[in-house]
């Protein structure tokens, strides 16, 4: 098995696929790529099945030492890449040789880049997905010295096709449907959900994106028995704060589910970071 080694892990780099279908009834989160569409695209460039494990880079990329030759494909947010300190012109495909050092820089436009390899990075699965689960074995993100394993294969011809930045939606309107408890809100509260510029909190994670500010009118005393939640559900806390649940969200929750972000909207949010503004439609 060929391998790549993390010299620097980057801000938050992990192996992800399209998430798990089973396990919610045992309290196991779905997981998977935050931007599932870009993860599928990274695989499609190499004619891989869409759900193979890919590397998810968040904000700042890792530095990888190549122990063997191979080829990577990229999708999602554009990222500066340096091969042996020489900047590459942001190709979709990168060929590398044993001994090469690949440094991925800071993402400016978007927030997450996906890197695939022919036949996928090899890793153990937990309930059908490589996505790490908090508290269950493998760490949530890669650290210095960790290894990525892959099968040797013949590379595709490298084209000069650049990453289309238009693949990252610049639109900050997030499409939603009403959640199960939407009707419990007053007409005034319902209106304000759709007519407010919310800011993604700096503590946004793979589990959830809390939104700011807390809104006085959205304060409530609705009590809800613990009930299932899924990625995309927008919870409303009694203090009037909205929380968008993301791919690693817990399986049940007790706050009213006022909106549900569409699958496309989750992928869009995955390419946004703390401090950015959004509007629900």
């Amino acid at each position: 098995m060929h391998k790549l080694e993390f010299i620097q892990p980057g801000l938050f780099t992990s192996l992800q696929d399209q998430g798990r279908i089973i396990g919610r009834n045992w309290g196991i989160p779905e997981g998977g790529a935050m931007d599932r569409l870009s993860a599928r695209r990274a695989n499609l460039i190499l004619n891989n099945p869409p759900d193979l494990p890919v590397l998810e880079i968040t904000g700042i990329g890792p530095t990888l030492f190549c122990h063997a030759e191979g080829q990577l494909a990229l999708a999602g947010a554009p990222i500066p890449i340096f091969k042996n300190k020489k900047k590459l012109a942001e190709p979709r495909l990168i060929n590398f040789q044993a001994g090469d050092l690949l440094k991925f820089g800071s993402i400016k436009d978007g927030f997450r880049t996906y890197i695939s390899i022919k036949n996928g990075f090899q890793n153990k699965t937990l309930f059908g997905s490589v996505s790490p689960v908090a508290g269950l074995g493998p760490a949530m993100r890669f650290e210095k010295g960790d290894l990525l394993f892959f099968e040797p294969t013949a590379p595709l011809p490298v084209t000069n096709a650049r990453l289309k930045t238009s693949l990252i939606l610049r639109d900050n309107t997030i499409k939603t449907i009403p959640g199960p408890e939407f009707d419990l809100l007053s007409p005034e509260q319902q209106t304000i959900l759709k007519n407010t510029n919310f800011i993604i909190s700096s503590i946004a994670t793979r589990m959830a994106y809390p939104l700011l500010p807390k809104i006085e009118i959205l304060k409530h005393s609705l009590s809800l028995l613990t009930s299932p939640v899924v990625p995309g559900v927008v919870q409303l806390t009694p203090a009037g704060q909205l929380i968008v649940l993301m791919r690693d969200a817990q399986t049940t929750g007790g706050y009213p589910r006022v909106l549900v972000v569409t699958e496309a909207g989750i992928n869009q949010l995955a390419q946004m970071r703390g401090g950015q503004e959004i509007i629900f439609t």
Partner: protein, 238 residues
């Protein structure tokens, strides 16, 4: 035919939610779990996975059917299903050491409830708690049946780390932390029983609809206590 008025809401493109009236009861839970089993069996062409809660059931479905079509099939199924499906229930016993060293909030709980430590432990170990569902964290059991005298609000400031196996009380709930995590529950004891096995399918021996009882053990017994829950017959304990 189901006995309640249920409603169905979309939770995005892959999930939908069935809701029963918001009153927790064993009867409602039994029906909900029976219906879950019924549709898992009869609508397997469309349903990929399900997960229940107290009064709601989440369904993950494939793209061979629309939300509107599946909603209709589910409502039809609710009118036609046989409520008398008898689930095989298991009764479990979990040894817990209620010692101040392992239950740091034990004395505070006794003080707040004006109970002696002995009575508090007796009240906590007496009932068979119903396992309503598993959620929140991998392997976390939502238990019902806590004695009213033991209703104690959660801590005002959560602990940054609660150890694996900690047994606690929060409001009207009691439960066991399946893994170390932050938490605001009042901690009254600890068990060595493993609630979750990441390398097994299923990863937990417990199922919604099972019952569970705590058994007090000493600090000495805790040192060599079992990592496996003990399977009981209800009759033997009654």
């Amino acid at each position: 035919m189901g006995k309640y008025k249920i409603s169905i809401a979309s939770l995005g493109a892959e999930f939908l939610l069935l809701s029963w009236p918001a009153n927790i009861s064993v009867e409602l839970s039994e029906e909900l779990l029976a219906f879950e089993k019924f549709i898992t069996h009869n609508l397997s062409k469309f349903i990929l996975a399900t997960n229940p809660a107290y009064v709601s059931l989440c369904i993950r479905y494939n793209n061979k059917i629309s939300f509107a079509e599946l909603k209709k099939l589910l409502l039809d199924a609710y009118l036609n299903f046989d409520v008398n499906i008898v689930e095989t229930k298991k009764y479990w016993e979990i040894p817990v050491c209620y010692h101040r060293k392992l239950g740091p909030d034990l004395l505070e709980c006794a003080h707040r409830t004006s109970l002696t430590l002995e009575t508090l432990i007796e009240l906590h170990t007496k009932p068979f708690y119903r396992i309503y569902f598993i959620g929140f964290l991998p392997g976390f059991l939502y238990l019902g049946g806590l004695d009213k005298q033991l209703f104690i609000p959660r801590k005002e400031t959560p602990r940054t780390k609660v150890p694996k196996g900690a047994v606690g009380i929060a409001g009207q709930q009691t439960g066991i932390y399946p893994q170390a995590s932050p938490g605001g529950w009042q901690l009254i004891g600890q068990t060595k029983v493993e609630l979750f096995h990441p390398n097994q399918i299923p990863p937990t021996p417990f199922q919604p609809g099972d019952y569970l009882k705590f058994k007090a053990i000493t600090l000495e017994e805790f040192k060599t206590a079992t990592h496996l829950p003990i399977l009981k017959t209800k009759e033997a304990d009654a």
